[in-house]
């Protein structure tokens, strides 16, 4: 619980310290990549609550999803198909779904007690 939040805060701090600005032309790809990463993180959180968490899958998913999302949008841009909104919709949908499962799992845990061998992270 503490570690991920610390990591997030440290990341935010680093982001504020380093003056990195995405050029306007690439802002679109970056925002899709960001959404994909958010989705991956929520997916990971969900997986920890259902007990199917695998850090290799998680980390590879995080980076590859972000890269692939940005790449697909980029390809779409080149082909004249605006995949940006499609990506937003699909990823947004997945985030909400993951959140719903996460919430349900958390509540279930409080009602029925923890499943064996799983340490609560949240």
């Amino acid at each position: 619980m503490v570690l991920p939040i610390l990591g997030l805060l440290a990341g935010l701090g680093l982001g504020y310290i380093f003056p990195v600005v995405i050029p306007f032309a690439y802002a679109k790809f970056f925002s899709v990549a960001l959404l994909a990463s958010l989705d991956a993180v929520f997916g990971g959180l969900k997986a920890t609550t259902t007990g199917t968490f695998d850090s290799t899958v998680f980390i590879s998913g995080f980076f590859l999803n972000a890269l692939m999302a940005a790449f697909l949008v980029f390809i779409g841009d080149r082909l004249g198909i605006d995949l940006y909104y499609v990506a937003l919709l699909a990823l947004g949908f997945r985030i909400f779904k993951n959140l719903a499962v996460l919430r349900r799992n958390l509540f279930n845990r409080h009602h029925k007690g923890l499943p064996q061998g799983i340490e609560p992270m949240i």
Binding site: G13, L14, G15, G44
Partner: protein, 233 residues
């Protein structure tokens, strides 16, 4: 258990990256917001147009009101004064001169400035017209007064602080023959300008219309005073 422990660290690392991305995205969004977007530019230009329309309308109203007060005022004398001051529209015989930039194809290495109309070209035209007895002159609908400027303003010319660009139309009221001849004089303005390929058309006409001066006349520093005897040197 070990898997979960490792998972904690991996999530922490990923969160670090995520936080970094979030911060960058936040800053990017702020930057984009603080930049003037195209939408904004369109908004502002639309508003400018609107304001200009409004301004024109108000000017017309002002003109009408001025006219009314003049009519209510002391009739013939004030009309005469208005005519002299350029505050009343005039009509009469005269010439209309159209000047446009050169249509010559420029050879490489030549100064393109030689082939466009400058303020001094127009000034020479106006000077010539005045010398030939023009009673009223307007450039692109701007009445020339004693205080009017003809000035280079980037790619445009500013007359009465109103900018306009080529082609320029100079209308002048006066004896049309005199005015035409003054312009077409050998070695005169028209000939010099034609050397540079500047297109100049001089049309004498019987009903040249010259609008009234639309700006405001202010005397902020000048005050009426008594006549003083000054020695002529």
């Amino acid at each position: 258990m070990k898997n979960i422990r490792r998972g904690k660290w991996s999530i922490a690392c990923v969160c670090l990256v995520l936080g970094f991305m979030l911060a960058v995205q936040l800053r990017t969004t702020e930057d984009i917001k603080s930049n003037v977007s195209f939408q904004r530019i369109e908004d502002i230009s639309a508003r400018l147009l609107e304001t200009e329309h409004e301004r024109d309308k108000l000017k017309e109203e002002l003109q009408q009101l001025k006219h009314q007060t003049a009519e209510e005022g002391s009739g013939a004398i004030s009309e005469e004064i208005q005519m002299r001051a350029g505050l009343a529209p005039l009509e009469g015989q005269g010439v209309k001169i159209r000047l446009d930039d050169s249509n010559k194809t420029m050879r490489s290495g030549e100064n393109p400035n030689l082939y466009v109309i400058h303020d001094d070209d127009l000034l020479r035209v106006v000077n010539e017209l005045r010398a030939a007895g023009a009673e009223a002159i307007a450039i692109n609908g701007q009445r020339l007064l004693g205080t009017s400027e003809i000035r280079c303003a980037g790619p445009t010319l500013s007359v009465n602080n109103v900018r306009s660009s080529a082609p320029f139309e100079v209308s002048a009221i006066g004896n049309k023959k005199d005015l035409e001849n003054a312009m077409k004089m050998r070695g005169g303005v028209a000939e010099t300008l034609k050397v540079w390929g500047i297109q100049i058309q001089i049309e004498p006409a019987d009903n040249i219309y010259i609008p009234a001066y639309k700006g405001t006349v202010r005397h902020e520093y000048a005050k009426l005073t008594e006549e003083r005897q000054e020695e002529e040197k």
